[in-house]
Symmetry: C2
């Protein structure tokens, strides 16, 4: 693929696309990951490729729930690992919680590839300065982020087959799950188990968006950076949350952008 000029108005979108194409070649992603990414591109285009005010509210609410959680976990699939792996490792370091690799079309090979990617990224993140306003030993916080997902020792009740597999110390134990780009069935099952499910989904009409406890209608790499800022703030409290209202606001953003 050709170099993308720094001045290109859609540079971030094109860079993300390039990352997904390259990760597919490296065996990190399932066949249909590029199609899912393309769907996301279209919704993001209609959202103006920026974080809306209502997405910002959902990010604050998600951060509040993660910070207040007893056993939070961040569930990551292939596309999320590629687009926002580093940011989400930082979030896990601040929260002192594990990351669980949980992919829809489960193969050991892809789980191992994503695991290697995230462990590599931890090594890189150790070298950086701690995020602004965060106090503590950043290297040790990063290195203590456990990457779960290879164990197969947990189950999500209410699902059948490979999709029910999870980690006992991760999703199974968690009370609050941040799970970007989740599928509708699994989102529904997790909510039925009484867990708080915080999703990042660019389609405000998707079943996942409608089922979740809190839906962040935003692109995952943008959202993950903002979640990091908010969990560092750390003075947030969960509110009475009306998720339907937030979806309506996301739809209004799209409707306004297609207004002729």
């Amino acid at each position: 693929m050709v170099e993308i000029p720094k001045s290109h108005p859609r540079r971030n979108s094109l860079l993300s696309r390039k990352m997904i194409v390259e990760a597919t070649k490296k065996g990190l992603l399932a066949d249909s990951a590029m199609i899912a990414h393309g769907r996301g591109e279209a919704f993001d285009y209609l959202l103006g490729e920026k974080t809306s005010n209502s997405a910002r509210l959902a990010i604050k609410e998600s951060a509040a729930r993660l910070v207040s959680s007893k056993n939070p976990v961040i569930s990551i699939n292939g596309n999320t690992a590629v687009l926002a792996g580093k940011s989400l490792i930082r979030v896990a370091a601040v929260l002192n919680c594990p990351i669980e690799i949980n992919i829809y079309y489960r193969t050991d090979e892809r789980i191992n590839n994503i695991y290697s990617l995230l462990e590599e990224e931890k090594k890189i993140l150790c070298q950086e300065n701690a995020p602004k306003n965060w106090k503590g030993d950043w290297k040790s916080a990063i290195m203590s982020v456990e990457i779960l997902g290879k164990e197969n020792d947990g189950r999500i009740d209410g699902l059948e087959g490979p999709r029910s597999i999870c980690s006992a110390n991760g999703i199974q134990k968690a009370d609050v799950i941040l799970v970007p780009l989740e599928d509708g069935d699994r989102c529904e099952a997790l909510v039925s188990l009484g867990k708080q499910v915080l999703v990042v989904d660019l389609n405000p009409l998707s079943r996942t968006a409608k089922m979740a406890t809190v839906t962040i209608v935003d692109e995952i790499s943008r959202a993950a950076k903002l979640i990091l800022e908010e969990v560092i703030e750390n003075d947030l409290r969960p509110t009475e949350w009306n998720n339907d209202e937030i979806l309506i606001q996301a739809l209004e953003v799209i409707a306004n952008n297609v207004k002729a």
Copy 2:
């Protein structure tokens, strides 16, 4: 990929996705073809996955212009060949015009693969009955559809590099071009040459959609079947066409579908 139940409400969309994934594995499509397909899926979802009244008008107008044309050509890229190759060969048979393979990331290998696919499909189409209301020798009409695109003997003035290559007897000579899923630069160059450019594009905000003479905002496999019906009708005359108005109507369909 798993079998898609006949009763699935989004069966056609899932079947198309499967065709694109399989064609990618066979080397018919560029890396980013699946991403482009995903973008299309999202827009089609927002259009309700059906042909709108305004798209139907654009299909009628396009058919009228193809029928009235002196030298029509149908330009086909990889995704179009996979999703609507058969229907467009039928359209070319009715119009007695060539098809030109013209792909964005041009490689001889992919042009040859698409060529083989279309020649195979011609052999299959020879065996079928002529379409309803069409009179003549169907087998001979199908077999006389010339598949251009390997020659490299024409140029699109105003473009640089591989994207300027076309066939002298196809796009270069044509007065009317039906070109589904075209990129913005090439659409603009073709319009600048005084050609009528009829596009099929699910994104009514794209540069291609805005540049074209007539924009059919519809999914290519649905649109191609309807174009076939209309060119067989054959009693159409081109009108004074307001393409901006048709794009506004497409945007209104999306806006209504996202209305909360």
